[in-house]
Symmetry: C2
Subunit: 444 residues, 2 copies
């Protein structure tokens, strides 16, 4: 029998736990799910005889060591900042660890130690990062192996509300961590396009969105997100002329979100004075300069050079950014206050379903001609638990777990799934779960 | 005999050391100046019998302890990040310390320990912070003691090139630390105006400059800088309706500097790829979006919505931001590269003199009428050593040193010069050195 320990039972773990329980009898697994709130873990286990829920506190050193030692393999679904602590405890106990998160520098430094001990620290096994890397490498290698030369690679992902349930003026609801949405893309976006390095600061980013279309879903806005330059190394594309990774939203989102960025409302670096007593009107007004005249809408429009009436201003009014009702949050940053408002307005309704959309656009030369290949993934959530986000984060991680436990994957050290021996079996099995890319090829 | 130890002999120490040497015979002082480069310290001592230059490395623990023990009082002119180390060593050795820098949280925490030992950690004794606080508190207390009620306090300071030597299109040269000029005002500027809190993000700040006039020097642009809100407590003005502290530049500077801010060229948070091989043209181009047409000037103008010809673009051309010459700096941040360019163009010429300008604007009610009082300071440098910056940073610090050593100031703990027993004797003596405020009163 193999004992799997899952740490954390948050939103994205439903599909992971379901897969592991479904396979537990045949594979002879025993699953332990630890959460600071054991009731949350129990809900996911739902009385399954192969599963057990326990209370788990990452800061309880003795319990952490005991649980890891009592397992054969650990999956960390804790917030990413805890992965280094889990990884170190795993190495000390002689266990391998899997995560759906980016490899942090702290985890990266454990590579040699993991190899020495014959252990695997396997990361970026979710959707973004995860399926994005696996499918990108499959596409890049397919073009290479037929003799094509890649000139450009662009890759965009979005977690959105499914079209049928898309009923607010922002065409957006929170289908994953609201804080990450509010803080998205802070810092500088770096990419290469037509051989030129581009460094676009946060306050210019939402102006530079472009449109793409995905299958029969219509148009999406895409904008480059953070450091795409480092993927020249990750994807082995040192000489590529265009490389952009980015985020997808529905058209109109970026222009409206840019208002928050321009005002400074997404700033998470300082605490506002007395924000609890302020109204939403005052909150908004505190980002406008003094001395101008007119209604708050007119002053905001004049400051940001946007129309004082119309779609943009309606999106703000719909949120209630000008209301004389109290903010009701004190000692908070602008970003926390904005998130508080958005959670009231962008929350999922009970029957809402989410959608996960991903598109890779490969430009390449083949037999003297320019080709473009598009590879698109669309996953719609089944229900509130088996959301598109939970399915696409949890299923590849669950498959990787099975492949490690049954000896198909024998690697050691710190790994991400960019090698064929990792991504081929995972992508193939994902298709059984409806996670399948649609391929389109155009010769220019 | 009293032994004074000065740590650091950088640009701003000329007037400090001169004052101390001039008074050394009468006061029976012996002065030791320690610098990582003892030659720099020797130049300032210039063979004076009461002075001694030594090599001093803050990271040499034994030498640090020995020198501090061998002194009666320590003045730290090291970069501000080293003050906590010096302060701790002073407390251990039973010595008081004076600095011209803002009190850091690390130094603030030593208050109790300093009081217990009867020692003084006296900070913010330069110009900004320093003379600004002293003169502000004198003005605020003068209005209070005649029965006036302060409604607004604005205070602006600028270190600039003196008008006679102001001969470049930016009307600006580096008269102090270039790095601090490039990184100035990053973060959010916070102030209160007409009872309303205002939070202006960095990327909007340089748009919101205002004009003030100072005596016969003409007009200056001023913009709010960093957190003015906390000065309600520092200046004991909890209910004031307007409180703004800010920076002064010559007219036209802010609009032009804003181009760098908008492009992201002042970002110090990431290293650019291959910047050493790039030309200035490429450096500038890397902040412009792809896909637009025209010359780089036209593309920049279109991106930032500014004229493609005229004063703004001339300022950039004069710097050489579009030149096809190599940047010549690798593994550098955008801010470091921009600083490298500006140091080539904004350096002081051998005979240049600098100017230090400060203005406080007090709005108050007195006997039922609105009054405005302006208090303005203008100091012009004497030469390359006795610059306005060196005089205004070093002289108040030197005076404070004398007042501590002769027992006029007997305070202990962590202090700043906002109390009358500190600022009155210092401001009075400063007038002998030409550091004198001109007062103007207007009844509205």
């Amino acid at each position: 029998m193999k004992r799997i320990l899952i740490l954390g039972s948050g939103l994205s773990t439903s599909s992971l736990i379901e897969y592991l329980l479904v396979h537990a009898e045949k594979e002879n697994w025993q699953l332990t799910v630890g959460d600071i709130d054991p009731k949350a873990a129990e809900l996911k286990i739902n009385g399954h005889p192969r599963g057990k829920a326990i209370a788990f506190d990452i800061f309880n050193e003795a319990e952490k060591i005991k649980q890891i030692k009592d397992s054969d393999l650990v999956i960390s679904m804790l917030p990413a900042r805890f992965h280094p602590m889990v990884a170190e405890a795993c190495l000390a106990a002689g266990r391998s660890m899997l995560t759906a998160s980016y490899v942090s520098p702290e985890v990266r430094r454990l590579d040699y130690q993991a190899r020495q001990k014959g252990l695997l620290l396997f990361n970026e096994l979710g959707v973004d990062p995860g399926i994005d890397h696996m499918s990108a490498m499959r596409g890049i290698n397919a073009i290479r192996s037929k003799g094509g030369t890649l000139t450009g690679f662009r890759s965009y992902t979005g977690g959105l509300i499914a079209p049928e349930y898309d009923n607010n003026p922002w065409n957006y609801k929170f289908t994953w961590n609201p804080r990450n949405v509010v803080l998205a893309a802070q810092g500088t976006s770096m990419y290469i396009r037509n051989g030129q390095y581009k460094y676009i600061p946060y306050h210019q980013l939402y102006r530079s969105a472009e449109m793409i279309s995905v299958l029969d879903l219509g148009e999406f806005e895409v904008y480059p997100n953070r450091d795409s330059l480092k993927y020249r190394e990750v994807y082995s594309l040192p000489d590529i002329k265009t490389l952009i990774r980015g985020t997808m939203r529905r058209p109109g989102y970026c222009e409206a979100w840019n208002i928050f960025v321009q005002l400074g409302m997404t700033d998470d670096s300082y605490t506002m004075d007395y924000s609890g007593n302020q109204t939403w009107y005052q909150f908004t007004d505190s980002f406008l300069p003094s001395g101008s005249e007119g209604t708050i809408q007119e002053r905001l429009a004049s400051y940001l050079n946007i129309p004082a009436t119309g779609v943009l201003m309606s999106k703000l009014s719909w949120l209630g950014m000008f209301d004389e009702t109290p903010v009701g949050l004190s000692n908070a940053t602008p970003a926390q206050i904005l998130q508080h408002k958005l959670e009231q307005k962008w929350g999922l309704e009970p029957n809402d379903k989410d959608i996960l959309v991903m598109q890779h656009i490969y430009d390449y030369q083949y037999k003297g001609k320019a080709h473009q290949h598009k590879s698109s993934l669309v996953v719609i959530g089944k229900d509130q638990h088996q959301t598109a986000m939970a399915m696409t984060v949890g299923t590849p991680l669950a498959i990787a777990t099975r492949l490690v436990l049954n000896g198909t994957i024998l690697a050691t050290g710190v790994q991400v799934p960019t090698k064929p021996e990792f991504y081929l079996p995972i992508l193939t099995e994902l298709e059984q779960y409806g996670i399948r890319f649609i391929e389109e090829e155009v010769e220019n």
